[in-house]
């Protein structure tokens, strides 16, 4: 038996995370507490910082120091992390942020679940930045998606967000973890050139520049101002800015198929499809089982990657599906993307929203399925 938050910790350590900086906040605190206990045992370091701005900064600092790093928080803290999350995206420092969502806005409902930070996870920081967001709905997924998050962060030199929620973070489930030998671990790409030939931001074909920490003979500069391949400010250089911002986005777009994970259930003959993610996907599964028992052809698309948005999965729907239901514990955030992905498809998109801190129940989803069929 393991809790979702605990599974994030186990996944992080299995993936090679050896630094954590955080600030206490429900419902994410267990992650910090467990990290404080476990990291020194594997030779890593934990620090409780003075706030979330500082903890995000410390995580990036440690990652520049060559150590895989992670932090965890919830709504109000996630907002404070945005400043330096943007820095990590801009200067391409691998790091992982777990956001165990709770009800907002502001301090809202500190211990109750929500899915209100979907858009914040995509657009929370300023500037047109790239980001990857993964979203678990089970304890097992907390484990594997945290590993995947660390791997993507290291592979692409990007901040990756694990968007959990109070239900998934606190639920206890039986899990069978993969053997350590079976887990794929990615290390950041090192330069193949000697220090004299190293340009810290000269990207390879895949759009990712090789990365080496300080103290190994490679001295270079990092700046969050618009920068050139040498890592120095080129603050008002339009050409450099154009190439940089495009590259930062392209390195993610090029790897969509490796980043995007979705799950399909009973989709082949489905007339009604529920597009769900996070804790809401749990209710969706249960609703579809009941619907099938009653002879209703319902199916599921579950998104484990929210950003980049998995629009390609909707191609499979063809013209058969009449309705796509999008249950979300917010006023309708990802539904906008679903509508965009289905703009050339006759299927109707119907949102199902709940913002009172209670989970969307299987019954609620089932009722809507029956209504739209």
């Amino acid at each position: 038996m393991m809790q979702g938050n605990e599974a994030c910790v186990e996944g992080a350590i299995a993936a090679g995370v050896r630094f954590f900086a955080g600030y206490p906040i429900s419902p994410a605190t267990e992650i910090a507490e467990l990290m404080a206990e476990k990291l020194p045992r594997v030779g890593g370091a934990f620090i409780q910082m003075e706030d979330e701005i500082a903890s995000m900064a410390a995580v990036i600092g440690a990652s520049i120091g060559g150590v895989k790093s992670l932090t965890a928080t919830s709504g109000p803290g996630f907002t404070l992390k945005q400043e330096n999350l943007g820095y990590a995206a801009m200067v391409e420092i691998p790091c992982v942020i777990v956001n165990v969502q709770r009800g907002g806005p502001s301090t809202g409902m500190p211990t109750l679940p929500a899915q209100m930070d979907v858009m914040q996870s995509r657009w929370g920081t300023h500037g047109d930045h790239p980001v990857v967001v993964l979203c678990p709905s089970t304890v097992y997924e907390c484990y594997v998606l945290t590993i995947k998050a660390v791997n993507i962060a290291e592979m692409l030199r990007v901040p990756v967000i694990v968007l959990s929620d109070a239900i998934v973070g606190h639920i206890r489930e039986k899990v069978v973890l993969p053997d350590p030998g079976e887990i794929e671990i990615v290390e950041r790409k090192k330069p193949l050139v000697p220090p004299e030939g190293y340009l810290p931001y000269r990207a390879d074909e895949d759009g990712v520049p090789p990365f080496i920490t300080y103290g190994k003979g490679y001295r270079y500069h990092i700046t969050s101002n618009n920068y050139d391949e040498g890592g120095f400010p080129a603050t008002n250089d339009h050409k450099v800015a154009h190439a940089l911002i495009n590259r930062l986005h392209a390195k993610i777009e090029k790897r969509r198929s490796e980043i995007i994970v979705t799950e399909e259930y009973m989709l082949d003959d489905a007339e009604v499809v529920i597009f769900a993610y996070g804790c809401t996907a749990r209710s969706a599964y249960s609703a579809v089982e009941t619907a099938r028992e009653q002879g209703i052809r319902a199916g599921i698309i579950k998104a484990l990657t929210l950003w980049p948005f998995p629009r390609e999965v909707f191609r499979k729907l063809g013209g058969r599906v009449r309705t796509v239901i999008v249950p979300e514990m917010n006023m309708g955030q990802l539904v906008v993307e679903v509508e965009a992905a289905l703009k050339d498809n006759p299927a109707r998109v119907v949102p199902l929203n709940r913002v009172d801190g209670k989970m969307i129940t299987p019954g609620q989803i089932l009722d809507l399925v029956k209504e739209v069929i």
Partner: protein
């Protein structure tokens, strides 16, 4: 000691962006000479900055350098130092960067006694953004956001970090550059949180609005108002009014964070269940 600073500079990044007469270059010179005096290799030194004119120091010095977000350099440095305790970490900050937006990080870095040297260039103003008042703009002086003169009092950054737990605290000026170099060298070799305030001049953002038309007038002000800790001991309160104290205020040995944490790691790993 005469040192050729050139080999510590990224000469291909010159000219720098500072205004003529700016004190930042003098502080940079003191830092580079201090590192040379200590015989540190360029590879073992990391210089981290935030945002501001002061932050531009590290783009032109040939160490491991990174510029971070406004006020947060110490938090980045804390993570870096915990990850790489063997590296010498120096943070260069401004009076706005380090004391306004970054004030809380400064207090807590001092409290942790983490082995980071912080050089705070105090030019009494927000230089980069064009002369707005900072927490160290003397009451009554003019700034673009204080067109009628500042109303708020300043505070003493050295006493602040001393109270917060810093184990090395000193102040120098751009005028007293030899002293400044010595203080920075001691700060870097000190094990623990070391803080050096470098009183400097911003002729463009501060001087010309405050009846000091030239950089040399501003440096003369430093010369006339600075009193060494030693000399101050024999002076009355009255005599010290309006003066700035320079020299070493604190130099004490207390447990340093990364050393203590390193011990914790070794103990945790030797226990059953450790890796």
């Amino acid at each position: 000691m005469a040192v050729h600073v050139d080999r510590y500079l990224r000469l291909h990044k010159m000219p720098h962006i500072w205004c003529p007469g700016c004190g930042n270059g003098i502080v940079l010179g003191a830092l580079v000479r201090a590192v040379a005096e200590l015989g540190c290799s360029r590879d073992e030194v990391v210089v981290i900055t935030g945002i501001g004119c002061s932050a531009r120091t590290n783009a032109i010095i040939d160490f491991n350098t990174f510029q971070t977000t406004h006020g947060r350099a110490l938090s980045f440095a804390t993570g870096f130092k915990l990850a790489r305790p063997e590296m010498k970490v120096v943070v260069v900050t401004g009076d706005g960067d380090g004391l306004a937006i970054g004030g809380n990080h400064l207090i807590h870095s001092a409290r942790r006694n983490i082995d980071i040297t912080t050089i705070l260039i105090n030019n009494s103003i927000y230089g980069m953004t064009g002369g707005q008042h900072s927490p160290l703009t003397p009451a009554g002086s003019y700034a673009t956001t204080a067109p009628y003169g500042t109303l708020e009092p300043v505070f003493d950054a050295c006493r602040l970090v001393e109270g917060a737990g810093a184990t090395y605290v000193a102040r120098g000026t751009a005028y007293h550059v030899v002293l400044l170099q010595r203080l920075i060298a001691r700060a870097i070799s000190h094990k623990g949180f070391a803080f050096v305030e470098a009183v400097s001049q911003c002729p463009v953002g501060f001087g010309r609005r405050n009846k000091m038309r030239t950089p040399s007038e501003m440096m003369r002000w430093q010369k006339d108002h600075a009193v060494t800790v030693k000399a101050a001991a024999g002076m009355s309160r009255e005599q010290l009014r309006g003066k700035i104290l320079i020299g070493e205020f604190v130099n004490r040995n207390l447990p340093e964070l990364t050393e203590v944490y390193g011990r914790l790691i070794r103990e945790a790993q030797s226990r059953p269940g450790g890796e």
